[in-house]
Structures are given as structure tokens and as C-alpha cells.
Symmetry: C2
Subunit: 248 residues, 2 copies
């Protein structure tokens, strides 16, 4: 772990802590301060940047809040870090709920994302990942009448395919949508006998992944996502209604 060199001093403003936070964030994003590098202590940073300690404490909190600075468990030392997927997904999902995005918008986004992920996964999936998906499909077959398990297994299936794509940008995109989109399906499963259609599609996607058949994996995922919308409509749910944050 290398330390960082502070260098320039930011100008003071009415919102000094934000200026200081932006200054440090810029340094981190430009790569001057690498992920994993240790930051000087709050006191040392405050001295070097010529701001008072409470300002520096606020700035550090902003950076921690944004996942750019982290402490190791129980420690006081600060390290440069990359934001976690889960934290980013929480922020994006919150924005989607508060902007009252509709199930239709999320569905259309999934229709763009999931087939590409399946196509990517077909060329890149490992034997272990194939086993994990096969196991998921077997468990899904045994859970066809249990709506809650079915929803969880469905979410797991799509997560496994997404991870097997090895594309972290697409995964970062789809994570918040997935959190809001798939739980809505508990409602569909509750009203329709949708399990058979679901397992049929999952089995076809698994077979395509196993065969390394990229365009087949894409085509089956595409059909499957189109089917989600049909299920939603057959269950007489309003596709234009705003999505809600699922209760933990």
C-alpha cells in the first residue's frame, strides 16, 4: 500500500468541506491516488490542505459516503477505494423509485440488457458457473408451486447469467433494475400458473449456454423477457404503474 502526496491546496469557499471532497475525488479519479493507497490521517490532511479539522472530517464523510474512501473494519486508517456495486445499485434504485419509473420502462431496459448478457455468457461461462445454473434450474423445477421461492430462484438465475457475461458495466446497469423488476413478479406468479413457462425458458437458455450457442442464448432470453410482459398483462397488472421499492 503506497501513501499519497497531497500537493495543491484548494480554495476556501462557503462549502469548504465539499470543495475539499471534490478536490480529493478528482485526484482519485485521475489515478493520482490509486485504489488501495493509504490516505494521511484526517489531522495530517487538514494541515496539508490548510483547512480546519472539522472541515476535513466532513469531507472524509462525503468521500466515505460515496465509497471512494474506506476504513478497514475497526480501523481508523483511511484507504482509497472503488464504490461497491451494491451501494451504487441502492442509489440508482432509489432514483428509479423516486422518479416513479414505470414497470414498462424497467421491462424495456431488461429487454435491452438481458439478451446481450446471455449472449456474452455463452462465450465466457465457466464449468462451475454452468453447474451453478444447472443446480438453480433443478431447484426451480422442484419449487414450481412455491411462489416466493420461484421469485428468488428466478432472480438468482438471471444474476448467474449476468455474472457469467464477465461484463461489469452491464452488471452495474442491470443490478438496480433487477432489484425492482424481478420482485414485481411475485405478483404475477401469485395470479398465474407462470412457473411452467419460466422453467421452460430457463432450460432452453441453460442448454444454449452449455452449447456455447451465443445467438440461441440471446434469442431464448429475448423471448423469455417478452414473456414477462405478457405475464404482467395477463395478470391484469398496470404496466404503466410506478415501480415500488421491495420490502426487505
Amino acid at each position: 500500500m503506497t501513501g499519497v502526496d497531497v500537493g495543491l491546496v484548494p480554495a476556501r469557499t462557503g462549502l469548504a468541506y465539499r470543495t475539499v471532497a471534490s478536490f480529493i475525488e478528482d485526484r482519485i479519479l485521475r489515478g493520482d491516488w490509486a485504489v488501495g493507497a493509504r490516505l494521511p490521517s484526517e489531522t495530517a490532511l487538514a494541515e496539508q490542505l490548510g483547512v480546519n479539522r472539522s472541515t476535513m472530517r466532513e469531507a472524509i464523510r462525503v468521500l466515505e459516503q460515496n465509497g471512494l474512501v474506506r476504513r478497514h473494519e475497526g480501523g481508523k486508517r483511511l484507504f482509497v477505494s472503488a464504490p461497491r456495486d451494491a451501494d451504487i445499485a441502492s442509489r440508482v434504485a432509489a432514483a428509479m423509485v423516486l422518479r416513479e419509473m414505470s414497470f414498462f420502462e424497467l421491462w424495456e431496459a431488461m429487454l435491452s440488457l438481458e439478451p446481450g448478457l446471455a449472449e456474452g455468457a455463452a462465450g465466457r461461462i465457466s464449468a462451475d458457473e454452468l453447474d451453478a445454473i444447472a443446480d438453480n434450474v433443478a431447484r426451480t423445477r422442484r419449487a414450481l408451486t412455491d411462489e416466493r421461492s420461484l421469485t428468488e430462484l428466478d432472480i438468482e438465475f438471471h444474476d448467474l447469467v449476468a455474472k457469467a457475461s464477465r461484463n461489469r458495466a452491464l452488471q452495474l446497469c442491470r443490478e438496480p433494475i433487477s432489484r425492482l423488476f424481478y420482485p414485481a413478479f411475485l405478483q404475477v406468479f401469485s395470479r398465474l400458473n407462470a412457473g411452467e413457462r419460466l422453467i421452460f425458458a430457463h432450460e432452453r437458455i441453460l442448454a444454449a449456454l452449455r452449447a456455447g450457442a451465443a445467438s440461441e442464448a440471446r434469442a431464448w432470453m429475448d423471448k423469455h423477457i417478452v414473456d414477462f410482459r405478457r405475464g404482467y398483462e395477463l395478470a391484469s397488472l398496470d404496466i404503466e404503474a410506478p415501480v415500488r421499492m421491495p420490502q426487505a
Copy 2:
């Protein structure tokens, strides 16, 4: 603007301000406190939740930082708000840079996103939006030898198409990728005479949008994004290299 009712009191912990911030965030996400509603003052909130004022001030800062609470310009009153796209995009783009995502990952994400956006736009675009895209294409034609303008006009073109899709979930997804992906093209334009290929594709996409031809708009956008990768490779740039934060 309605006020909010505070209700339950959160438990105190070592990180009281985070507990208080989460408590308020949950209320907002559940819709108990609606976007636009006015929050009680810091002092009143601190009293109602039984925490001291400095804890409440920290909690409010976290919520402001996450875009869930906002003050009107120059005002002190707090209002519930939805996070802004631009702020979300900054956080996601930062995560992509710090996780050292490659140009290839971003390109593949764009290959999933942009064709769907063009397809959606074909059925939903307004006359004004068509005019704006036509104007962009005319300006692009006049800027073919000016690499910097060409990059800016290219970014504008794709933003206009994305907005015309009316899908806010897809727009939220693509915004951070767009910020990192398109500026990389200044390098391609600098090395190749890529303007002609670019304007050709943009003109075809515009014609498809004007005709309301969804599958043609999708197909041309798809070809166009595939072409980006080819340009990158022809310019002998490393497609597996991590993307960087563009300098403002």
C-alpha cells in the same frame, strides 16, 4: 407542498447520524414522505427523533449528498427530492473508472443499450426532437474535419436519440457509459478519417426515426456501434485498456 410526519424514533448507535439518515431514507423510499414535501427544520427533526442537533445535521448532509433532500437556492428549508440523473451518472462513472472497466466492456454495454433506445425512439420521437436531430446531423456534416466538434456532436446525437426513447431507466443506465465511452472517440477521430462513416450512419438512423421505422432504426444503430469497435481497433488502440475519466 405538504409537510411530513416524523413518527417512530430510531435507536441510537455508534453511527447515530447514519442510522438517522437511513431511517429518513426508508420513509422517503416507501413514499411516506413524498418528493416535494417539506421537511421540518434540522432543530425540529432532531427534537422529534431524540438525537442531538449535530447528529441531525450530519444525517441531513448524507441525505443531501445522496440527492434525497434538497434546499431551494439560498433557502434553508429542506425538501424531499429525487436524485438527479447527472449526480447518479457521476457516481456510476466514478465506479467504472475506479474498477478499471475496459473500453470493451463499455462498448458491449452500448451495443446492448443504443439499438434498443433507437428502436424505442422511432415510435415515440416528437417533431421537435426530429428537428433537433436533423440540425445535429447538418452541423456534423459541416464539422467533418474538426475532431473535437465531431466528438461533441456525436455525443449530442446519441443523447438526443436516447431522450427521444422516453425510457428513463435506459437513459439512467447509459448516461455514465456515454460520458466515458464517446470521449474515447476523440482518439479514434484523431487517427482515422472516421467522420464520413459516422455521418453516414447518423443520417440512416435519422431517416429511420423520421419514417417511424423501429427495426431499421435499431439495425442501423447496431451497425453503427459495431463500427465504433472497428474504428477503435483500426486506430490500434487497446480495447482491453481501462477507460479513464475525461478531463473537463
